[in-house]
Symmetry: C2
Subunit: 206 residues, 2 copies
């Protein structure tokens, strides 16, 4: 590991290196880039991150990142309240919204069940999902989780928790390659997989 000529520089580079996918060379390049900018650019950079962390609000209904109590999707009159899509993370909402194929509401789990990473059902927004599932307006829940073992485990867990309700439970079609992450799927494939969602029983065969 190289030694920098300045402790302040070292600290800033170390900060960037802790981000996922950022190595030491990239970190140094980013820090030196910021150092060349006007002071107000750097200030707005560090403030925007600090402000997000301090003031972030999660939608009390779907747990999406929001500016107010209810996110823009939950508070929209144009969305179908009979249809609910369960996702892992807000990046998946962005990906699905970009397909233009889904007009219902979302529910962000905040992760998936992953014993390897010590993430169990208690760590996810499952209680509030079950509460929402009891809403008589609701007709269908679409599971749109990663097509991985953890995703399947989570699908199965949710199916068990929800199957006694009079709801259609569906899983997005596996047109997307198994092992791929939703975020990186192309929009056509992801859109198709929403249109072709299948009854839960059919989704188990890999």
């Amino acid at each position: 590991m190289e030694v920098f000529s300045s402790k302040l520089l070292q600290a800033a580079v170390d900060s960037f290196t802790r981000l996922p996918g950022i190595g030491r060379k990239t970190a140094l390049r980013l820090v030196l880039h910021l150092l060349k900018q006007d002071p107000d650019v750097v200030e707005s950079f560090s403030q925007s991150i600090q402000q997000l962390k301090n003031e972030v609000v999660y939608c009390k209904k779907c747990h999406n990142i929001s500016d107010s109590e209810l996110c823009s999707i939950c508070s929209s009159h144009g969305r179908d309240p009979s249809l609910l899509c369960v996702v892992e993370d807000i990046r998946d909402i962005i990906a699905i919204e970009n397909t233009g194929q889904f007009f219902g509401l979302y529910h962000v789990l905040g992760g998936i069940i992953s014993p390897m990473d010590g993430i169990g059902p208690k760590d996810l927004n499952i209680e509030s999902l079950i509460e929402r599932a009891n809403n008589p307006e609701l007709k269908e829940i679409v599971f749109a989780l990663s097509t991985t073992m953890e995703g399947d485990t989570t699908n199965y867990y949710l199916f068990k928790k929800l199957s006694h309700l009079n709801l259609k439970l569906t899983v997005i079609a596996r047109g997307i390659a198994i092992g791929d992450e939703l975020e990186y799927a192309d929009e056509v494939t992801l859109g198709r997989s929403i249109i072709n969602r299948t009854p839960y029983e059919h989704s188990l065969s890999r």
Copy 2:
């Protein structure tokens, strides 16, 4: 361009997107990663950048980033003051220091002459280089700039400015990188490496 559910999120992602080589997906991934960290991690991240920007000191001799008036290289007694290496940027100092092959002092130009980018000699630390070149202790200046047209232009400009002094002016060797196959080397590099061939004994040390 996607629309986020939160203006704060949007602002933080926009901040990261302004960094070189960071696209929107990467920016979102980095921001969501920070959002999952403890508040003090995020605070130290944004503070380390802000602090570097506000408190950074450049070495008054070589313009390296420093914690004090003189950087650790300029103030070291172990360096050879008769040898000066001219580099573009502090990253080049780190790269050269990592080779363990240079024991002189440095001079950071802060860029290279690039009319396309509107960078002229006045924008670089050339005045102070000429001042240092008049130091009777100095015997040799090594130009270690990019092997591009801009680097060549800058080398030529500096050579003209310094050639009247009784100094040895050298340029780092250009040739085939160690480990490269001749077959894939470009013609200019290969041609240069033949013209500037060195005695056999000197080529062995890696």
